[in-house]
């Protein structure tokens, strides 16, 4: 049973503020992913929780007890490093036993615990080897084993599979998830890879330039991004963003992409909602994911004529760049739906998948149609 709470964390490296007033409550057994670009403060936050980094302001509470003045060795937390950090001069067995030896357990207990962890991770056959003889995936299994063996209050992982190749990353991702379900310990996981974050997290914490942007389940973060940064950072390919003006015409809202000849059709409630939210034309950005851009090969009611520019065939689907005025909108279609570039097609924006942001602050108006 471990809850972790961060209250008003501030951290500077010299003149640079790397964490700004960070508040976060993590529930027992929760798998939290800190997501952000490099330098956003996510790793520093993780290291601060572990006690490897001091903080300038705020409280870190583990099970309600402030720990910011307690040494790393007394916080009872395990840390998995991106570099694996296995001791080259010890065997795999010794590496996993190392945290147990710190607690001065007796020999048979240590032997038993190490064997149990090795069995869970399926690395029993590697116990006598040296880390240098292992593959990247096995190294990380050992590193995770070393973290698990002590049954720590919480597991902290700093890009644990970032150094592996793509295929192995996918395998290890599944394995980490399986392990978390089985062991159920509070886990904080840092990554810059949004796919990893989406697939692993109970809740994702998106950070940017030291500031927490949004906390939510993968679905919330994906479907209801709090601002333009989150909207563009989460999801692949990235969300289309384009400045628009909205007008009302014959019971419809008309959303016009700058420089486009024809406007997209939206339900009439949009204008009222925008007004209520305090949005103004000239300061309005429309965001829509490629799957929210619907494409038709013939003219249809509510569809706008556009030109297919570039087609990226990805096997399971195609990504098509559509020219709308001076802007490009990327759409996702069935593979082979538009046979060749230059083809004239018709497009529509699914209002349910449209997001409206304040262009200057980037904040979402939170409008759901």
């Amino acid at each position: 049973m471990t809850q972790i709470e961060l209250r008003g964390i501030e951290k500077h490296f010299g003149a640079v503020q790397v964490i700004k007033n960070l508040n976060l409550a993590i529930a027992d057994n929760e798998f939290i992913v800190l997501l952000g670009q490099s330098g956003c403060g996510k790793t520093t936050t993780l290291r601060a929780i572990a006690g490897l980094e001091t903080i300038d302001e705020g409280d870190i509470l583990i099970d309600g007890r402030p720990v910011q003045h307690i040494k790393a060795s007394h916080r009872d937390i395990a840390f998995v490093f991106q570099s694996f950090s296995l001791y080259p001069h010890m065997t795999v067995f010794e590496n996993i036993a190392f945290p147990l030896r710190a607690m001065r357990g007796n020999r048979t207990d240590i032997e038993r615990e190490v064997q149990a962890v090795a069995k869970t991770l399926q690395i029993t056959h590697l116990l006598a080897k040296r880390p240098s003889a292992l593959s990247g995936g096995d190294m990380q299994r050992v590193a995770i084993g070393r973290a698990l063996v002590r049954r720590p209050k919480a597991m902290l992982m700093d890009e644990p599979i970032g150094a592996l190749d793509a295929k192995l990353r996918e395998e290890m991702r599944a394995e980490i998830k399986r392990l978390h379900i089985k062991q159920g310990s509070t886990t904080i996981y840092v990554t810059h890879d949004q796919v990893e974050a989406m697939s692993l997290a109970d809740r994702i914490v998106v950070m940017h330039e030291g500031v927490l942007q949004q906390v939510g389940t993968p679905h919330e973060v994906y479907a209801r991004p709090a601002n333009m940064f989150v909207a563009q950072f989460v999801g692949s390919p990235v969300m289309n963003m384009t400045e628009v003006t909205v007008s009302e015409d014959a019971g419809h809202a008309r959303v016009l992409v700058r420089g486009a000849p024809t406007a997209f059709d939206f339900p009439s409630s949009l204008t009222a909602e925008l007004t209520a939210a305090g949005a103004e034309n000239g300061n309005l950005t429309l965001g829509v994911r490629p799957e929210g851009v619907l494409v038709s090969r013939e003219a249809r009611e509510g569809f706008v004529p556009v030109e297919a520019h570039i087609i990226e065939p990805l096997g399971s689907h195609d990504i098509i760049d559509l020219q709308v005025g001076a802007q490009m909108l990327r759409a996702r279609t069935k593979s082979g739906f538009v046979p060749r570039p230059g083809e004239a097609v018709w497009a529509r924006i699914n209002p349910a998948q449209a997001h409206f942001f304040d262009s200057s602050t980037g904040t979402s108006f939170g409008i759901r149609l």
Partner: protein
């Protein structure tokens, strides 16, 4: 690497091998000279041209370890018959072994000087390497004000020839009574080697990822435990390389040993040449002393050779 060598490449290769051979021979020549002289009969030691083929003798070593005096006449036949084999070798050379009133064999100054060399070199090496390792660890792992300046200051102690400070050092040592003491030389050699040790060890410790210790810290170890369990084993190669360099410097040091010591704490380097002047120089004995003096460094370096090779190329390969 190309599987097939061209003719010019092969020729170049041969030239390179020949050059390496010549250089190796050049380096080994003095060692051969010393070694062969150490086993020569005295009358063959100074022949021109040098004698290359001879029957090796052990007598120079017997003479090296014993106190001897010149024989005026041939020894009494019964004395000669009663003497052990090694004493006869001394008689054969026209000398006799000096015995005390009770008949105990008197040793020469050499074993004592050799022991002094061992004591001083080993102690100062242990001190310099251990202090250097701790200091380097501090510099490597903690941020401190004026770090670069401090490191430069440490290095600056090596920027002038040590002999420059010999006279002031001598006066200071005399004032505090460190003249001709083991500790005097140990402190001197430790101070002398410390800057070198700090800089070398800092390079080695910088190469050890910080995450190793951080992993140990979160796993429940203190920083000191992490240092001994993780940093030291990982730095073993660096420590070995640094120890060899420090040991060689302390072992071979001549100038300060000559000035600061004369009897009790005198090391072998100033002692061996001092034997040249007493009576007729016996080059075979001097060579025997030098030969034995070469052994510890050779053995030490041989034992640590793997570490040394790794130490030289440490950090050259990105892991």
């Amino acid at each position: 690497m190309a599987a097939v060598q061209t003719r010019s490449e092969r020729a170049l290769n041969r030239v390179a091998i020949a050059a390496v051979l010549v250089i190796t021979l050049l380096f080994l020549a003095p060692i051969y000279w010393i070694t062969s002289t150490a086993f020569k009969p005295r009358n063959l030691a100074t022949t021109i041209p040098p004698t290359v083929i001879f029957e090796p003798e052990i007598s120079p070593f017997v003479k090296l370890f014993t106190k001897r005096s010149q024989l005026r006449a041939a020894p009494e036949p019964e004395d000669y018959a009663a003497a052990p084999w090694w004493e006869r070798l001394v008689f054969d050379g026209g000398e006799k072994v000096v015995r005390s009133g009770r008949g105990d064999v008197q040793l020469s100054g050499y074993p004592n000087r050799f022991m002094n060399s061992l004591i001083v070199a080993i102690t100062s090496t242990v001190l310099a390497v251990s202090m250097g390792t701790f200091t380097a660890y501090g510099f490597s792992r903690f941020k401190m004000k004026g770090e670069a300046d401090l490191l430069f200051f440490i290095l600056s102690t090596r920027m002038l020839p040590p002999v420059v400070v010999a006279i002031p050092m001598f006066l200071m040592y005399r004032a505090v009574g460190l003249n001709d003491t083991h500790w005097g030389l140990i402190i001197l050699y430790t101070a002398f080697n410390l800057s070198f040790s700090v800089w070398l060890m800092k390079g080695f410790i910088d190469e050890i990822p910080k995450e190793y210790e951080e992993a140990a810290l979160v796993d429940g170890y203190t920083r000191l435990e992490a240092f001994f369990k993780i940093v030291l084993p990982e730095a073993a190669t660096g420590i070995a390389a640094t120890a060899v360099f420090c040991f060689i410097t302390a072992w071979n040091e001549y100038a300060f040993a000559l000035i600061m010591t004369n009897r009790r704490a005198q090391t072998a380097p100033p002692f061996i040449p001092s034997q040249v002047g007493s009576g007729l120089p016996d080059w075979t004995v001097i060579a025997a002393g030098t030969f034995l003096f070469l052994l510890p460094v050779a053995i030490f370096t041989f034992l640590l050779r793997n570490h040394l090779l790794r130490g030289m190329s440490f950090g050259a390969i990105r892991k």
